[in-house]
Structures are given as structure tokens and as C-alpha cells.
């Protein structure tokens, strides 16, 4: 997809920091994330629970709860900084230019309104059409996302649909205003694998048709490998590696990325033993000093404990936040034989 279009950034996130001011202290949920989303492309954000991947997307749409604040950085969308504009201006963009689908469609859909009513609401709000036309658009959208008998389904309530169908309805709703960017936060995590395959296929097809950019947030490296063009790996609120998908999987440079890729059981290769990333995912109230990953990193040195590395461009368009990424390189070359 990337090769035949001129790369044009539709969304540019720079040094984003979102903190939550809780009774227990400041939670630095997002603490330095940089990426660009290019037209028609899929940007994957991957990481474990608490790494800040979801908060990043909530920050883009500015739907954080009252404790959360964007404290630094910018989010440029079509020349405007979304962190600076008024709530009223944001409301015109939210749902129209940037739409979102969530992990649990049962929670994200309103149980007391029919699917149709919920889609029509969005259409009437952002487009100058009456309800009858909006309803027609809604039925067409439901057909497009592969819901059988859309004329009937449009009047059903969310609980009458299966998990996969609900997620399709969510996608229909998100697409109702032809957004430029679709944020998909763990869109298939709650679904069975055969249904996951259906939904990912649908999203790819719709992306082509609408030419929209997708921000795909997931913990599943497989979903990333098959769907993303570019990937941000997050750990403890920070982007630790950012590059295109092939480079990330073929040549990971951050020890965390490398560890993650070795820690997953895989269907495509024989594995004698999974790699252990020692320790636990850190508590966001008490992130470690220096490099946030150093207590779990087998390459860590004294410097990592004291100083925090920057996101550095180590090769063309390959950004890594690590002082000693060359050491990972050495370790990798040693066990190539084991992997292939």
C-alpha cells in the first residue's frame, strides 16, 4: 500500500505526555510517544498491559477521564494541534474525521438503543441529512460490513447480535462519516480466532475502499505482523522502538522488542524453549529510574539505571530507545540458527 502512494502524514504525534493525577500519586501513563500516521496506512501500537497504548489513543481523541491530562507534546491533525483546540472544535473532529472502535462492543454500544438509532445519530450529527436518508445510509453500511439481512438487523438491540456481529456494527458506526483515521483499540481481542480473521479481513478491505489510515492497538504480535505497515512498540509509557513492520520483525533492535518476539509461542517455527523476560510489568506509580526496562533487561549496564536513553534514529527510519542496542545485535546473530 505504501509504495504506490506519496507518503503524507495525516496525524503526527510529538513527544506526547499524558499523566493521571490520582490520589495515590501521578501516573505517567504516556510519557514520551512519537509517531506519524500516513495516509491509507496502518500504524500498529503494541505493548503489554499498562504500557500506555490505549491512553495514547484516548489522548488523540481527547476522551480521557477528568484525572487525565495531556501535559506536554502535540498531536497535529491537518495542521491543527488537537491538544490546543477547544472542546467544541474537538467535537467536530471526533467521530467525523477520527473515529474509534473498542475492544468490547457490548460495553461500547448503548444497550437501550437499536443499532440503527446509534448509527443514525452519528450521521445526523455530522452530515446534513434527514433521518430517513440517514437510516438508508445505516442499512447500506451494515450491508457493507457483512451483516446479513441489514434491513432487519438495523432495528435490533446490541444484545441480539453475536460478538462478531456487534463488532461489525461498531465498525459500521465508525465508518458512517468516512473518517480519515480509524483508531481500533484491541478490536478482536474479545473474539474467537475464526471471527478475528473475519473482522481483520473486513477492516483491510474497508481501509482500501475508504483510503483511511488505521491506528491498530493490540498486544498480539501476530495481528501486528499481518496488518500493520509501521509499528510503535511501547513499554512503561514510552515508545521504545518505532519502524516499519518488516524491519521490526526481521531486525528488532530494542531488547524488549527482541524479548517479546522470542517469548511468544508460534505456529510457524519449532521452539525448544520460550525466552523468559524476567521480572514483572512495572507499576505505573513506581516506574524504575533511568531506562524503564533496565530491571528486566539482560543487556542492562550501570548507565541504564541512572540515565534515560532518547529515541534515537539508529538506521534510516528505525528509532530505538536504548544505549546498548548493538549488544542485542550480537546476541541475535548468535542464535539465528536456533530460530530458522
Amino acid at each position: 500500500m505504501r509504495s504506490d502512494t506519496v507518503e503524507k502524514s495525516v496525524l503526527s504525534v510529538k513527544n506526547l505526555k499524558t499523566y493521571f493525577y490520582t490520589e495515590d500519586g501521578i501516573v505517567k501513563a504516556v510519557d514520551g510517544v512519537d509517531f506519524d500516521v500516513f495516509e491509507g496506512e496502518t500504524l500498529g501500537i503494541v505493548g503489554e498491559s499498562g504500557c500506555g497504548k490505549s491512553v495514547t489513543s484516548l489522548s488523540i481523541l481527547r476522551i480521557l477521564d477528568e484525572k487525565g491530562k495531556i501535559v506536554e507534546g502535540s498531536i497535529l491533525f491537518g495542521g491543527i494541534d488537537l491538544t490546543k483546540i477547544s472542546e467544541e472544535a474537538m467535537r467536530k473532529i471526533r467521530g467525523k474525521d477520527i473515529a474509534m472502535i473498542f475492544q468490547e462492543p457490548m460495553v461500547a454500544l448503548n444497550p437501550v438503543f437499536t443499532i440503527g438509532e446509534q448509527i443514525v445519530e452519528a450521521i445526523v450529527l455530522h452530515q446534513k441529512v434527514d433521518e430517513t436518508t440517514a437510516r438508508k445510509i445505516a442499512v447500506d453500511l451494515l450491508r457493507k460490513v457483512g451483516i446479513p439481512e441489514p434491513e432487519k438487523r438495523v432495528d435490533e438491540y446490541p444484545h441480539e447480535l453475536s460478538g462478531g456481529m456487534r463488532q461489525r456494527a461498531m465498525i459500521a458506526m465508525a465508518l458512517s462519516c468516512k473518517p480519515k483515521i480509524l483508531i481500533a483499540d484491541e478490536p478482536t481481542t474479545a473474539l474467537d480466532v475464526t471471527i478475528q480473521a473475519q473482522i481483520m479481513e473486513l477492516m483491510k478491505q474497508l481501509q482500501k475502499e475508504y483510503g483511511m489510515a488505521i491506528i491498530l492497538i493490540t498486544h498480539d504480535m501476530g495481528v501486528i505482523a499481518e496488518n500493520a505497515d509501521r509499528v510503535v512498540v511501547m513499554y512503561a509509557g514510552k515508545a521504545v522502538e518505532y519502524t516499519d513492520v518488516k524491519t521490526l520483525f526481521n531486525d528488532p533492535k530494542h531488547p524488549y522488542t527482541w524479548g517479546l518476539l522470542h517469548a511468544i509461542p508460534r505456529l510457524d517455527i519449532e521452539q525448544t524453549r520460550l525466552y523468559n523476560i524476567p521480572g514483572i510489568v512495572p507499576n505505573p506509580l513506581k516506574f524504575p529510574s533511568g531506562c524503564k526496562f533496565h530491571p528486566r533487561c539482560e543487556f542492562a549496564q550501570e548507565k541504564c539505571r541512572i540515565e534515560e536513553p532518547d529515541l534515537e534514529e539508529v538506521a534510516e527510519r528505525h528509532f530505538v530507545r536504548c544505549f546498548y542496542w548493538e549488544k542485542v545485535e550480537e546476541a541475535k546473530s548468535k542464535e539465528v540458527g536456533d530460530r530458522r
Binding site: S162, G164, V193, H219, E226, P265, L274, I277
Partner: protein, 388 residues
């Protein structure tokens, strides 16, 4: 070698009640005629999507549910009647053994030839019936039911489970010492407080948790550590079989690999046997020796791990495998996308239950239910179209 656990024609239906009189209006056919064996020291992977009955099998095996019908044999003992009320247990034993033995005696004329024609549990029970009880039903029943409390206790010790959610499966009000030590104390595997503490410390250290933490509460541990405690609790009784029901599904990727590796190490050290229940084929592939694939309450395919992953035959297994995203962007694989959703187990499709979503289905599939056939040694498939 006899299997540690043998499940024969296991059926579990759940009633759906409605109306003022709570009458049964339908049945959820969660598990419908499933048979398999588990041998000592192996890991059997049970895989399938939600609603396929994999968890129900685990729960029924542990007798947290009573089976609707079928037989569960553990270490050469029929355990099916263990937890039935006395009258039902008697009826079960009469129906399954004494009446059958009498019938066989009529056919074969001599006690010896009846005994010889049987094997395993049946043979042992026939010997008890004809030799010890001298053909008396009452005596046979009293022999089997006299020490039922002990049998129940042994059963509970032999089969242990590790649950999916490490947050809800540990009692928040109990200290780790009690959580892990309760079993060994109840089953009198340890004498006195001192020995109990030693036992708890030693299993905790086996799972990689410091013995100094035994007076802590579950909330003081992370998710991965809690799952380790759950494993320690099962391990403390030296069980014959550990059922791991989605035991790593709720864990983060980096923690998941730690727990999977731990379970493998423990298996090597303690010669453990696992029934590993999961929806995740990649995890199943990594941990299992043998794999059973289920769909809507039925086994559709079972084989050794190597055979199943190299040569999957059932269209559902193939679709399931192809649906899993591969973490390698260099591979572009052909994907079989199944139509529609998994049908409801209340009203499963006729014939082959998979035919509504199958990309290979022919007319026969909607009419005739396929049986599980052995296609090559150890490789069983329930599909009309395989091997034709």
C-alpha cells in the same frame, strides 16, 4: 500401559428452565459423546473456540459438574459414581456392572470366560462381583460403596486444577500459607504445623516464589505470581493430573512465557500429567504432546502434536490453524475464512455440526453425523470427506 484418566462417551447437557414451574424447555448440549485417554507424564491439549465444551469437560472431569452420562475412569477405578447420592450410585453400579455381568454370564455360560472377555476396570469389577461377592449384587455394592469417603478424598487429591483468572481464584482473605497448605493438611500429607509450613515453602520455591512470603495475602502479588501460587496449590497435593483451564490466557505476553516455561519445568521435575485447555493453538502447540480439537461439544480431530500440526485433516482444524496470525511479516499465507458464527449448542446443526460453516461440505454432511475414525495410527478425524 493403562491411561491415568480415561473418559468414555462423556455427555453433559445443561437444562434450560422457563415459566412459572421452571420446566425444562431445552438443553444446552455442551459436551456430546466425547472419549479420550490421558497417559502418565504427557500433556494433552484440548483446543477449541468458545462454546465448544472444553471447559465443561474439565469441570466434569473434576466432578464440579456431574456428567449426564458416560464413564470417567481414573487410575483404573470407575469414579463416575463417587459423588452421586447413594441411591443413584447404586442404580448406576447395577445398570453398568451387575446387570451387564449377569447378561454376559447367560451368553458365555462360565464365569471364567466372562472375566476373560473383559478388560481394565470391567474385568476387575467382574472379578469382585463373581469371586468376592459370589454373584450377590448387595455384596458387590457394599464392597464398592463401603469406603466411598476415602475414595472421594483420594479422587480430590489426584485431580487438581489451575484456573484462568489468578485474581478470582485465590481467596483474598487467606494467607498464602493457608491457600497452599490447606490441601496437604486436609489430606493428612503433613503432620503438624511445622511440617505443613515446610511443605508450603518447598512448593512455593518450586514455582519460583520465595518461602519468606508465606504470610502474605494474594493482593500483595502480581498476576503472574498469583498464577504461580495457583500452580503451587495444585502441586502441593502431588496430584496424578493437573487440569490447566486457560491457565495462561489472562497473562501478559512476557509473563505468559514465564508461566508456560515453569509448567514445563515442573512437569520434567515431578513427572506431572497435564490436561491443558486453551483456545490458543500456538500455546497448545508449544506445550502439548497430544492435541484434541473440539467443535460444538464434539471432538473433530485428535492426534499427536507433530502429526496434527504437520498434517491437519479436519476442515475445522485447518481453518483454525489458518486463522491464527503469524508473527512474521515475510510470510503471506493462504487464509481460510469461515463464514458466520459458531451456532448455538442448544440447537446444533444436524449431521456434522460444522457443516454450516464448512468450506468443503457436501449434501451428506448435513444429514449424517460423521464418526471419529482412525485415519492413520493415533490420528482420529470425524469428517466424511477425509480419506476418500
Amino acid at each position: 500401559m493403562n491411561p491415568i484418566v480415561r473418559i468414555e462417551h462423556l455427555v453433559k447437557f445443561f437444562p434450560i428452565r422457563a415459566g412459572v414451574f421452571r420446566r425444562i424447555v431445552a438443553w444446552v448440549k455442551a459436551v456430546d459423546d466425547v472419549s479420550f485417554d490421558i497417559y502418565e507424564g504427557e500433556t494433552v491439549g484440548l483446543v477449541g473456540e468458545s462454546g465448544c465444551g472444553k471447559t465443561t469437560i474439565g469441570m466434569t472431569l473434576l466432578r464440579l459438574y456431574e456428567p449426564t452420562s458416560g464413564r470417567i475412569i481414573v487410575a483404573d477405578e470407575d469414579t463416575t459414581y463417587y459423588f452421586l447420592p447413594s441411591l443413584k450410585a447404586r442404580a448406576y453400579l447395577k445398570r453398568n456392572y451387575t446387570e451387564r455381568f449377569r447378561k454376559l454370564l447367560n451368553e458365555k455360560k462360565s464365569v471364567d470366560s466372562v472375566i476373560e472377555s473383559l478388560e481394565g476396570v470391567d474385568r476387575r469389577y467382574a472379578e469382585i462381583f463373581f469371586r468376592e461377592a459370589k454373584g450377590s449384587t448387595a455384596k458387590f455394592l457394599s464392597t464398592l460403596l463401603s469406603n466411598i469417603d476415602e475414595k472421594r478424598k483420594k479422587f480430590r487429591r489426584d485431580l487438581q486444577i489451575v484456573f484462568q483468572d489468578p485474581y478470582s481464584s485465590l481467596n483474598p482473605r487467606l494467607r498464602i500459607k493457608t491457600i497452599v497448605g490447606e490441601g496437604p493438611v486436609t489430606h493428612k500429607l503433613v503432620k503438624g504445623e511445622k511440617e505443613a509450613i515446610e511443605r508450603v515453602k518447598s512448593v512455593l520455591e518450586d514455582v519460583g516464589i520465595s518461602g519468606d512470603y508465606i504470610y502474605r495475602f494474594p493482593h500483595e502479588f502480581s498476576g503472574g505470581q498469583r498464577q504461580r501460587i495457583g500452580i503451587a496449590r495444585a502441586l502441593a497435593l502431588s496430584p496424578k493430573l493437573i487440569i490447566a483451564d486457560e491457565a495462561v490466557a489472562a497473562l501478559d505476553v512476557s509473563i505468559r512465557s514465564q508461566v508456560i516455561n515453569l509448567m514445563k519445568d515442573l512437569q520434567n521435575e515431578h513427572k506431572l500429567t497435564y490436561l491443558f485447555i486453551s483456545h490458543d493453538l500456538s500455546v497448545i502447540k508449544y506445550v502439548s504432546d497430544r492435541v484434541i480439537v473440539m467443535y460444538l461439544g464434539k471432538v473433530v480431530e485428535s492426534a499427536s502434536k507433530k502429526e496434527l500440526f504437520e498434517n491437519p485433516l479436519h476442515p475445522y482444524t485447518r481453518a483454525l490453524m489458518s486463522a491464527i496470525p503469524i508473527p512474521n511479516p515475510n510470510i503471506k499465507k493462504e487464509r481460510i475464512i469461515l463464514k458466520g458464527d459458531v451456532p448455538s449448542p442448544i440447537n446444533p446443526p444436524s449431521g456434522c455440526r460444522f457443516h454450516t460453516r464448512c468450506f468443503m461440505a457436501v449434501e451428506e454432511c448435513s444429514k449424517v453425523e460423521p464418526v471419529l475414525r482412525e485415519i492413520s495410527p493415533g490420528h482420529f478425524v470425524a469428517c466424511h470427506l477425509v480419506g476418500r
